[in-house]
């Protein structure tokens, strides 16, 4: 948190020293992205707030917590594969889920499938690669995401 504040301030100062105009342009484009993100971001927070109230912590942990094992991975993989959430929203959302008792490996599966597997975008992808290659790539990516989750689960406590 403080690191980010110091890092950002430092970056702005260095950038200002080199080029005032470019810095202003960069900050403006960043602000524009932020304003564009705000409405969907707040919507997701609202939905998550409802889910967390309706679905008590114990049940969430039972379904996707460390004890849930592969069931949790499977749920995370399905959620990640079917949803279209930008990373800007997925990471804060993951942080909330971790605060509510989920483990990092499950989150890794969710994040990786979210980024590499796209069921909703499959028709679009097939227009570029053809159905066979698009489906194969998605299946490989899904398998890969589960492997990454297992690898992180095995190493998380050791390192």
């Amino acid at each position: 948190m403080w690191g980010l504040l110091i890092g950002t301030t430092g970056a702005v100062i260095v950038s200002l020293i080199f080029n005032r105009e470019k810095t202003w342009k960069g900050i403006k484009s960043g602000a524009r992205m932020f304003i564009n993100l705000l409405p969907p971001f707040i919507t997701v927070l609202i939905l998550v707030a409802f889910v967390l109230t309706l679905l008590p912590k114990e049940i969430l942990i039972q379904l996707m917590g460390e004890e849930a094992g592969l069931t949790g991975f499977a749920i995370a993989a399905v959620l990640g594969s079917i949803s279209l959430i930008p990373g800007f929203i997925a990471y804060p959302l993951s942080a909330i889920l971790i605060k509510n008792g989920l483990g990092y490996p499950v989150i890794a599966v969710f994040i990786t499938t979210l980024m590499m597997v796209g069921i909703v975008t499959l028709p679009l992808e097939s227009k570029y690669f053809g159905w066979k290659a698009a489906v194969t790539r998605n299946l490989f990516s899904l398998t890969g995401a589960l492997i990454i989750g297992v690898a992180i689960a095995l190493l998380w406590k050791i390192i």
Partner: protein, 185 residues
């Protein structure tokens, strides 16, 4: 300017409606002492405060990143090299960009047209979807450096392997098409 604002409001109309309804929900919940509502609102406020502090800082960083990084230089090298150097250029290019997975497909088509190998095209897609620097800054900010490093280190070999497999399966006659809707540009 005013036109832009209208466009922005229209684009987010569903989100804005949900936010509006939620605002009414907050008022009613507190006025009526509705327990479920109050708990939900508290959940919302907790996560909102925690999240909203970091995000503007990150977008300033991303904006600066955007104006300072010369993508054109990297793009020039794509397609020329096919060995390890080619892979490095492809990964570098993908890390400098931003956007969702489906934003990678048009670039994949351009790479293919420029003569990049099937393997490098799929490495690009893997790297684009998981290693974008703006995204990594978000990941480190919210989930910590340990998680981000671990995920990145495991993901790298996985998508290189996927790319190698894709080339093995589809290599010889693989063709990337351009959907009709993009042909204009």
């Amino acid at each position: 300017m005013e036109n832009n604002m209208k466009k922005c409001l229209f684009k987010h109309r569903w989100d804005l409606i949900i936010i509006g309804v939620f605002a009414v929900f907050i008022i009613i919940s507190f006025a009526a002492g509705f327990d479920f509502g109050i708990r939900t609102v508290n959940n919302f406020i907790d996560s909102f405060i925690e999240m909203i502090v970091l995000i503007p800082l990150m977008f300033i960083l991303i904006g600066l990143f955007d104006v300072w990084v010369p993508k054109e230089i990297v793009e020039k090298h794509i397609g020329k090299d096919s060995g390890i150097k080619g892979i490095l250029w492809v990964v570098l290019l993908s890390m400098l960009q931003a956007g969702p997975l489906y934003g990678a497909f048009p670039v994949a088509y351009i790479l293919w047209k420029k003569g990049a190998s099937v393997r490098n095209i799929f490495i690009y897609i893997g790297a684009f979807s998981t290693l974008k620097i703006p995204m990594l800054s978000f990941e480190i900010g919210y989930l910590g450096l340990k998680f981000s490093l671990m995920r990145t280190l495991f993901t790298l070999p996985v998508f290189i392997l996927i790319a190698v497999l894709m080339e093995k399966i589809f290599g010889k006659n693989f063709e990337i098409k351009q959907p009709d809707s993009d042909k204009k540009d």
